[in-house]
């Protein structure tokens, strides 16, 4: 290709790049900005002005204060954090333990156990909810943080496979030399395997947090009590109580949206790594 046409090509694709870029940015941010505008307007102002106009007073936090109090957003945040923390703790411990055993040991029922996990992975957890509902009642977990926590821990089979892939790459010689030094299997797990799996844990944990924070299905079904409302379910009950007050509704939406945006900004590196590695490796 000649120098001139190369240059023309890169100018063209630069235009296409930024054209696309700007279009996407507008599509993504406009709906969010409109809600931000609405959240700072009084209800009369919202009714009287165009939804695209800027609020007259950017310091009008009344809607936020009302949504925060009446929506019980702090309690929602607390429950969401508890749910994420509990599930992650269980997930990480059980996931690494399972992967360690299945990757490093041979035993009689190993094939059966692996086949069961594979089978369990194919079943979309969500379709079996009708039957699981009875189980949760039977275990007396209904209306407790325990119900979603146990479900999030028990139904995440994917992470076991990710951990197993990681373990493939960790040399068995490490285990063997530790054995020679007299370390027990538990010691090897605690001091060698678990720490070496931490990078995988970070990525998996962040992605899992996103999944849990976005799930309403399980939280809504098993925790109807107001005391147990999480951020999203708090917003749902706030909306059903205040459906006519659009400006407060906008503020409520922002109060639930903001923590997730902050989480995304802080952990974006892990989120991208997790998604992109998952797509091309394995």
């Amino acid at each position: 290709m000649s120098q001139a046409s190369l240059k023309r090509n890169s100018v063209l694709s630069g235009t296409a790049y930024y054209g696309n870029f700007i279009l996407m940015t507008v599509i993504v941010f406009i709906p969010i900005l409109l809600v931000v505008f609405g959240s700072f307007k009084t209800n009369q102002e919202l009714g009287a002005t165009s939804p695209f106009s800027l609020p007259s007073n950017w310091l009008n936090f009344d809607n936020y204060v009302n949504a925060y109090h009446d929506g019980g957003m702090l309690r929602g945040l607390k429950n969401t954090v508890l749910l994420v923390a509990g599930s992650l703790l269980g997930n990480v411990l059980l996931g690494t333990m399972t992967a360690y055993i299945l990757n490093r040991f041979d035993f009689k029922l190993k094939k059966v156990v692996i086949a069961l996990f594979l089978l369990a992975m194919i079943i979309p957890s969500y379709t079996t909810e009708i039957a699981r509902f009875q189980l949760i009642h039977g275990l007396h977990l209904y209306n407790s943080l325990g119900a979603p926590t146990m479900i999030y821990i028990g139904t995440d089979i994917m992470q076991i496979y990710v951990y197993m892939q990681f373990l493939e790459k960790i040399s068995q010689q490490l285990d063997e030399s530790a054995m020679l030094d007299g370390a027990s299997y538990f010691r090897i797990f605690r001091s060698i395997i678990f720490p070496l799996l931490l990078p995988a844990t970070a990525t998996l944990g962040i992605l899992k947090s996103v999944t849990i924070m976005n799930d309403i299905y399980v939280q809504n079904l098993y925790m109807p009590s107001k005391e147990l409302a999480t951020l999203p379910t708090s917003l749902m009950s706030f909306v059903s109580e205040r459906s006519s007050d659009l400006s407060e509704l906008c503020a409520g939406i922002m109060l639930v949206l903001l923590p997730s945006i902050i989480f995304y900004i802080v952990f974006q590196r892990y989120i991208f790594k997790g998604l992109m590695d998952g797509a091309v490796k394995g």
Binding site: A16, Y18, N20, M24, T25, V28, F29, P31, L34, V35, G47, S50, P51, F52, L94, G95, M97, T98, I101, F105, L116, F117, A120, I123, P124, T127, T128, E129, I130, A131, R132, F133, Q134, L135, M150, I153, G154, T155, I157, F186, V210, N214, I216, Y217, L231, L235, L249, C250, I253, V256, L257, S260, Y264, Q268, I271, F272, L275, M276, A279, V280
Partner: protein
């Protein structure tokens, strides 16, 4: 301690809880689901009677609402499928490091990460019939004929919801395609260029084979995502007006928890489960690489 004994102890103690949880929360409910689907259970009675395939017969031949719901899933699937080539092209265009590319990646993935319930209500506001932004925009552009009740009109509501689904999920597909594109070695393109392959030929013979795995993943996500679609209609319309915007999953839950017909709901869930397995294996079979044989 004897080594073999130690091995047995650690295998048992490490696997006991995870295997129990898996059996309890996944395998057991699945078996129960199949069981319920052959009964007339209402969800609270102590007894239930075996009705054979009656629930399935009703589902297939005498339950138009369920068929309407699965058609709605089909709409999500169809429109998302049409969007896939555009997602790929976007990723191809963006597969370079120019100024601002990290901000761009951030923006594209954002709809997928931020809270889904808040996103649902955000679009409810956007579609609001009274002074909502969409109708406001149409009015300002002088296109009052296009002003609609976006979530109340039976013929439009599903399209409005699919648009939200596109907003939420297209970005993650673009990012997955990007990951695939970046995993194709650059010298393959150089070699193809030396052989005189232009943009389209490179796309066909270098890019597409190189990102086959990503394509598989996206097609799978597309099928399961469309079949399991639940939160957008649940949050925004509750499946309404009537059952116009219900999806199969949402409708099966309503059948169980609202109408207390667990038997019928279970037969719906079983069908959904089988559908997902059949569709995704079919899709994988269709795009399987046969050149290696």
């Amino acid at each position: 301690m004897n080594n073999l004994l130690q091995q047995r102890i650690i295998i048992f103690s490490f696997l006991f809880i995870p295997v129990t949880l898996m059996l309890l929360f996944l395998i057991y409910p699945t078996i129960q689901l199949f069981h319920y689907s052959f009964t007339d259970w209402n969800g609270y009675s102590k007894t239930m009677s075996w009705v054979g395939f009656d629930n399935y017969k009703k589902l297939f031949f005498d339950f138009p609402d369920a068929w309407k719901a699965i058609r709605n899933n089909g709409l999500y699937f169809l429109i998302h499928t049409i969007a896939i080539p555009m997602e790929l092209m976007t990723a191809v265009l963006l597969n370079r490091t120019l100024r601002g590319s990290s901000f761009f990646r951030f923006t594209v993935l954002m709809p997928y990460i931020i809270n889904g319930v808040a996103v649902g209500y955000m679009f409810s506001y956007f579609y609001n019939p009274i002074n909502g932004p969409l109708n406001g925009l149409l009015h300002a552009l002088g296109m009052d004929a296009l002003v609609h009740g976006w979530l109340s009109d039976l013929h439009i509501v599903n399209y409005s919801l699919v648009a939200v689904s596109l907003w939420r999920f297209c970005g993650v597909h673009v990012i997955l395609f990007l990951a695939g594109l970046q995993s194709v070695p650059a010298d393959l393109y150089e070699a193809a260029q030396l052989d005189g392959a232009g943009f389209w030929k490179q796309l066909r013979y270098v890019t597409m084979p190189g990102i086959r795995r990503v394509i598989e993943i996206i097609l799978f996500l597309n099928v399961s995502g469309a079949l399991l679609q639940y939160d957008i209609p649940y949050v925004m319309t509750g499946g309404g007006p009537g059952t116009a915007s219900s999806t199969f999953g949402l409708f099966s839950l309503q059948t169980a928890f609202t109408f207390n017909n667990y038997g019928l709901a279970s037969s719906m869930a079983v069908s959904l489960l089988l559908l997902i397995i059949v569709f995704s294996s079919l899709q994988n079979w269709i795009i399987k690489d046969r050149s290696e044989k």
